[in-house]
Symmetry: C2
Amino acid sequence: MSDPRQPTRRQATGFDLSQFIPYRLAVLADEISQTIAQVYVDQFDLTRHEWRILAWLGKHRSMPAKDVGRNAGLDKMQMSRALARLEDKKLVAVERDEEDRRGNVLGLTRQGRATYDRIAPLALAREEYLLSALTVEEVAALDTIMAKLLRQASALNDKS
Amino acid sequence: MSDPRQPTRRQATGFDLSQFIPYRLAVLADEISQTIAQVYVDQFDLTRHEWRILAWLGKHRSMPAKDVGRNAGLDKMQMSRALARLEDKKLVAVERDEEDRRGNVLGLTRQGRATYDRIAPLALAREEYLLSALTVEEVAALDTIMAKLLRQASALNDKS
DNA sequence: GATAATTAGTAACATATGTTACCATTAAGT
DNA sequence: ACTTAATGGTAACATATGTTACTAATTATC
C-alpha cells in the first residue's frame, strides 16, 4: 500500500496517452465494435444504431420506441432517424401508440425477425471468439470491472 | 470447466444486447470518454482529436505528423482537419518536413504547451477518480484484459 | 377545468465525418 | 534514368450527426 501523499507511479511519469485508460478503452471499444460491425454492416447493410434497435426488439418483442431507445443507448433523434431507415427496409413496423398517442410502438416484421435470427448467432460467435482470449476468471473480472467503472463514470457525468 | 459441446449459458439465453460485451464496452467507453471530454471540450474548447494530438505532443515533443497520427489513432484526414484547427488556435506549429518534403513536422507552441500543462493534470485526476472504484488487483486485471482483447480483435480485423 | 410544464417525436439547419479523387514527393523496378 | 508504384497530405463531395426549435399529446398545478 502506498502513501497517498506521494504521487502515484502513473502521475510520476507524466501524462502518457498510450497508457491513459480512457484512451485505451476508446481504442479497444472501437476495435471490438469493428469486429461486430463486419457482420451487420458488410453482410446486412445496417448501421450500428439500426442493429441495436433490431437486437433489442429481437429479444424483447413489441414495445414503445422510447423504451427501446433508452435500452439501446439511443437518444430520440437517433431513434427517429434509424427507425425511418428500418421502416424503409421493412425490418421494423412503427405504429402510433394508442396508449399514449405522442409515441410509437415498435415491432419486428417477419423479415426483421429473419434478419435478427441470422445476425445474432454470428455476433455471439464473434463475442465468443474475442472472449476466448481471456481466462474464465478474467471474463468474470471484466464483468465486475465494467459495471463498477460505468457506475463511477455515470455518477460523475450526471452531476453536471 | 464446462463441456465445450454444450451451448454456454450466454448462448443458451439467446442474444441479450444488455449483456453483450461489445455493446457494454461501447457504452462504457462512451461514458468514460464524456468524463474526460468535460475537461477538454467544456473548459478548453478542443475536440477529441485535437486533444489527442496535443496529448501526444505534450509528452513526445516534435515529430512527423504521420507518427503522431499513428500513435493517437487518427487517420491522415482526421489529422489534416484537426491540425488545421490547432494551427488556427496557435496551439501547434505545422511545418514542412525537410527530411521528407511530402510530410509535416509538428510541435507545440508555447501556448500549446501551456494548454497541455493545464489539461493533463485534470485528465489524470479524472482517471484516478474513475479507477478509485476498483481494487488494486482489478486495475491490474483491467490492464491485462484490455491488452488481450485488443490483440484478439485486431487480429480478427486485420485479416479482412 | 383552464393553463402551464413535460414528453415523444420530427424538421431544418449547422457541423462533423467518411470517401474518392487528386497533387506533390519519394521509393522501387526495369 | 525513366517509368511505375507507394506515401503524406488536401480538396470536394456525399453522408451522418448534433442542435435548436417546433408540433402534438399528456400530465401537473392552480
